[in-house]
Amino acid sequence: MTIQNPNSFRTGPDETGHFGMFGGRFVAETLMPLILKLEQAYEAAKADPAFHKEMGEYLTHYVGRPSPLYFAERLTEHCGGAKIYLKRDELNHTGAHKVNNVLGQILLARRMGKKRIIAETGAGQHGVATATLCARFGLECIVYMGAVDVERQKPNVFRMHMLGAKVVPVQSGSRTLKDAMNEALRDWVTNVADTFYCIGTAAGPHPYPAMVRDFQCVIGREAREQMLEREGRLPDSLIACIGGGSNAIGLFHPFLDDKSVEIFGVEAAGHGIPTGEHAASLTGGRPGVLHGNRTYLLMNEDGQITEGHSISAGLDYPGIGPEHSWLHDIGRVTYISATDKEALAAFQLLSKLEGIIPALEPSHAVAKAVEIAAAKPKDHLMIVNLCGRGDKDIFTVADHLGGMS
């Protein structure tokens, strides 16, 4: 292992894919050669200006970047403290940050000559983004989705169908995101020759956590420039929701070495951490090994993975990307959590005050942003990652609010 530069939080992972003790490559032998090849291909792409140029073109003209950094004036007034800015990745094509990562991986798959793309999805946003780019490039697309999530995120299932993807409802285990990931891995182990596994978050075996982070870092790089332009200085705090952690690490990473910037990750507390029905791996879990990496996991005393719970299908993963586990242990990022109820309230608040309907996932970040902002001075600059829009969630929310409100 190489010693990471102690003066920087941005040098990980080491060459074996570790962030401190987290990460690694815990996969079946069948997949190991594929993962090594993927790592090589990614390193080559990373060093190739043509790859970055191609990415840049599509990010601008297809995804619609840069996404605005919007001053949420009425939300700020409501809180009476920090100046709240929203990084509006919900305006991206397909409605969430997921497309940033998918674009990178699909361009890489094309370079590798892979014609069959598989993905797992929870909320369906990653599935939709993958189906979208597969349609754009004429690639076969198979999306694994827990049967429970197929039910609660129907609009996205329909979108994937329209885009020509095959959606496979996963009936094993808890029938949510972790099981979809198991099923995608089973597919990959079977179809090794022609298949590219497009993982939707900054987790999984090395090089995925680093690669997905790199593709999502466009969020943080833009936010940094935009804030410097608008306010002439860096923000004082950042806040983002965490499922596997990709939108969060994308915003955070470019700021990790700016010691003045306070960083908050918000996990899903579901019905509340004490109830055990939550998806807060860092707050309520322990280190373990799942889906190719060592990271904080929700599990019982026998090491059996337990089901995460969240009102938001994109957050109820019982793990978290390994870089977050490391940032948690060394204390660079503060991880907190928001309950279903708090997220629902924030969903309504942002809709009514700003005319922006957020996805339930970033509603968790908004919920905590409102609390933290209230306690900060008026010259405190805060960026909230508004990583997805709420169209997909209106039925879920209506159900919870009894169809009224």
Partner: protein, 277 residues
Amino acid sequence: MTTRIDRRFEAVRAEGRAALVTFVMAGDPDPETSLDIVRALPKAGADLIELGMPFTDPMADGPAIQAAGVRALAAGMSLRKTLALVRAFRAEDDATPIILMGYFNPIYVYGVDSFLADARTAGVDGLIVVDLPPEEDHELCKPALAAGLNFIRLATPTTDDKRLPAVLANTSGFVYYVSVTGITGAAIPDYGKVTGAVARIKRHTDLPVAVGFGVKNAETAEAIARGADGVVVGTALVEAVRLSLSEGRATPATVEAVSAVVRDIAAGVRRVSKKAA
């Protein structure tokens, strides 16, 4: 240092045949019946026993073995109870090797050092941990070897000649060749290719090579036995468990249902004479 696994492969070779390696899930369909199933395996013709350690997220297993794990966990099985099962078996049988097979997380959570100590005392001979490739050898493989346990690695069709030495480096006991790219219980291998693949592995190692995936009955076992030192059967046995159940529970027929399949497959394995070789 020779181990129970080494001695057993030696003895089977002396008999001029391939070894039969049987996989069942510990605790399936319940801990008591599971012990009876395991106890009956040697009599039915099993030479080595692979005991699955149930895990909620068996990423490399097909529906049959997934379901076996679900049944075991629902019946209260745990890693601690799996070790207790081995201890109970070992009290009556000191010769049949037992290999625990599963995923790393339950072991990691148990604590690698305590697990290795407890496994050894219980009478475990070897480990197969699906999600620990050679790149992660420091996690469990090397400590296991130091503790006197065999660490059996899977080699697969994607393991090319360049990678094979790394895969074999810390492997002991035997090499488990996974005959297809895929999950357990799925595809049927191309038997001709399997023989060639085993020959390729044997150019790199003196260890016995056992072949698994796709052994369903006496005929398929016979086909595999021609080209390998050992034949592994798993899905067919956990399916026998499932089919014997009534409303999810063991019946008086459960133990015998598994034994019957083992006897059939053992007969297939024994039809191939390796005396000449």
